[in-house]
């Protein structure tokens, strides 16, 4: 609890944390990966496919950063291109068609800032995910496991439940970027990190997430078992809900409603 916000940012970025694929391998059984966006390419920064959660078929999508230098290069350091978001949406619509719940694991510094990414419509790809996810008929749970970098993270987080690992962060901009724009000084990142309210506790008190997941025994069997149990229970509850889409709408609808004041 007493860890300073900028220390949290460093913890969230730590290479030794479990990555998306670690969660997929350890929580689910029989993962079958599906590739490609059917338009342009297969983005290695986003992994997706189907698997079983305690016997129930689910669609699983994860932003993957990789562990070794070679893996990290291959995964573009977890910075997706538009085709990654389009692959994710394709798999989500497939899940919708076959009535499978969707579980997303998010870990990115942000959508990739590249020339090709702009040429292929990074903004449009994210926008389409936000729009389409809002009316998926199946339950969606998104878990931030490391960095939750702005629109590139949100594009997989228009969910019924959003959870964060205790030391993950979720922010509209990196503290360094914020400091450099506002104070022309990236060294002010610590101040920016504290001001941006990007920790899991902040996100929960702002009503942006529902649950903070403990990092006790992180990477061990017990850790993944705990998450598996929580996911199973939550999906049970969401699957019985006939009002899923309108509740998802309201979940986002109320955020910032109070912050936008009306003059008397």
């Amino acid at each position: 609890m007493s860890v300073a916000p900028y220390e949290r940012v460093k913890l969230a970025r730590d290479n030794s944390r479990p990555t998306g694929l670690d969660y997929i391998k350890n929580i689910f059984q029989g993962f079958i990966e599906f590739h490609g966006d059917r338009c342009y390419a297969d983005d290695h920064a986003i992994v997706g496919g189907i698997a079983k959660l305690n016997g129930q078929p689910v669609t699983v999508i994860a932003i993957e950063k990789g562990h070794t230098a070679k893996e990290r290069t291959y995964r573009n350091f977890g910075a997706p291109n538009p085709e990654g978001y389009r692959k994710a949406l394709r798999l989500m619509k497939q899940a919708d068609k076959f009535g499978r719940p969707i579980i997303c694991f998010i870990d990115t510094s942000g959508a990739y800032c590249g020339i090709g990414a702009e040429e292929r419509g990074q903004g449009q790809a994210i926008a389409e995910n936000l729009m389409e996810m809002s009316t998926l008929c199946v339950p969606v749970i998104s878990i931030l496991i490391g960095e939750g970098g702005s629109g590139g993270a949100l594009a997989l987080a228009v969910a019924d439940r959003v959870w964060m690992l205790q030391n993950s962060v979720y922010s509209v901009i990196s503290p360094e970027g914020c400091a450099s724009i506002l104070w022309k000084d990236a060294a002010q990142a610590e101040t920016a990190a504290a001001s941006l309210k990007l920790t899991a506790e902040d996100a929960k008190s702002l009503g942006v997430i529902e649950r903070i997941l403990s990092e006790k025994d992180m990477g061990k069997k017990e850790f993944y078992e705990r998450i598996r149990t929580l996911l199973t229970e939550e999906l049970q509850e969401l699957s019985d809900d006939v009002d899923l889409i309108s509740k998802r709408y309201d979940r986002f609808r109320r955020i910032g409603e109070g912050a936008a004041k009306e003059q008397v």
Partner: protein, 285 residues
């Protein structure tokens, strides 16, 4: 991580500073230099021509002037004028900055919403304001745009939106990020009701606004030469260490890459919008 754009304000007013006045000549009429053709244009001629230079360069325009240019006389009825941002995160300096910008710009927030008539058709209209913190989207902007789409869905009206934005308003942190999801869901409901939404992208349309309602319209128009993109050009250069192609992230560039429908010059926008509205009269109901 370039979610917020690095676009430099073109003058002090946009920055929230105090010097808005154009360069005054010693004698005669005040003039403004066109950054494209480098000629000095008398202000009166520029204003008469809706801030377009004879070379075709489109200067930025204040939201209220734009509304006047687009809608039928006296038909605009403003909605949600009293919704404005607080300082929900107690972000250092935000309150003061917002108050200064309010005083200088005369606007409460970075978007103006309402109903209007264009040609013979009634519609909902939102126009973002570059002179208010470069049209950044915070809770109030998200709330106003969401309410407008909900109003349009309820009353079965089309929506026309002029976008201009440097991206999300970072002083509102996660709350501003969530406005992207909130507005997108409202656009989706409006769309699923069979109703028309036309976006007109103006300079600059970037960041979280590009990655939400700017790119979600049925028909996407843009002004010539506007910056349209997601990440900031400087950040892309720093990330890739490659020179950017000529005309990168302009209206013409995104048209070439298939992301917008048409580029429409300012003097033809009203006619074009009126025609499009007329051809979609009553939605699909």
């Amino acid at each position: 991580m370039a979610f917020i754009n690095f676009i430099k304000p073109k003058n002090k007013l946009e920055e929230g500073g105090r010097t808005a006045a154009p360069v005054q000549q010693d004698a005669g009429e005040p003039e403004k230099k066109c950054p494209n053709c480098r000629k000095d244009i008398p202000l009166s001629r520029l204003w008469a021509n809706n801030l377009v230079c004879s070379c075709g360069y489109h200067f930025r325009m204040k939201a209220r002037q734009r509304i006047q240019m687009i809608v039928e006389k006296d038909s605009f009825q403003e909605l949600y004028a009293d919704v404005k941002a607080g300082n929900p995160l107690n972000f250092p300096g935000y309150q003061e900055k917002a108050e200064t910008v309010r005083q200088i710009s005369g606007e409460e927030e970075a978007v103006i919403c309402g109903t209007a008539q264009i040609g013979k058709e009634k519609c909902c209209l939102f126009v973002m304001e570059s002179y208010f913190m470069m049209g950044s989207m915070g809770s109030a902007v998200g709330e106003k745009i969401t309410r407008l789409f909900e109003h349009a869905t309820k009353h079965r009206l089309p929506v026309i939106g002029f976008t201009v934005s440097g991206g999300a308003r970072m002083q509102e942190g996660l709350l501003s990020l969530m406005q992207m999801a909130k507005t997108s869901a409202a656009v989706k409901r409006h769309s699923d009701a069979g109703l028309l939404y036309i976006a007109v992208l103006t300079d600059p349309t970037t960041g979280g606004v590009t990655a939400s309602f700017a790119m979600e319209a049925d028909i996407i128009l843009a002004e010539p030469g506007a910056t349209v993109g997601f990440a900031g050009a400087r950040v892309i250069e720093q990330t890739t260490r490659k020179p950017l192609p000529a005309g990168f992230q302009t209206s013409e560039f995104v048209l070439d890459h298939g992301f917008i429908d048409r580029i429409v010059i300012r003097s033809e926008q009203k006619k074009m919008l009126a025609e499009l509205l007329e051809m979609h009269r009553g939605g699909n109901a």
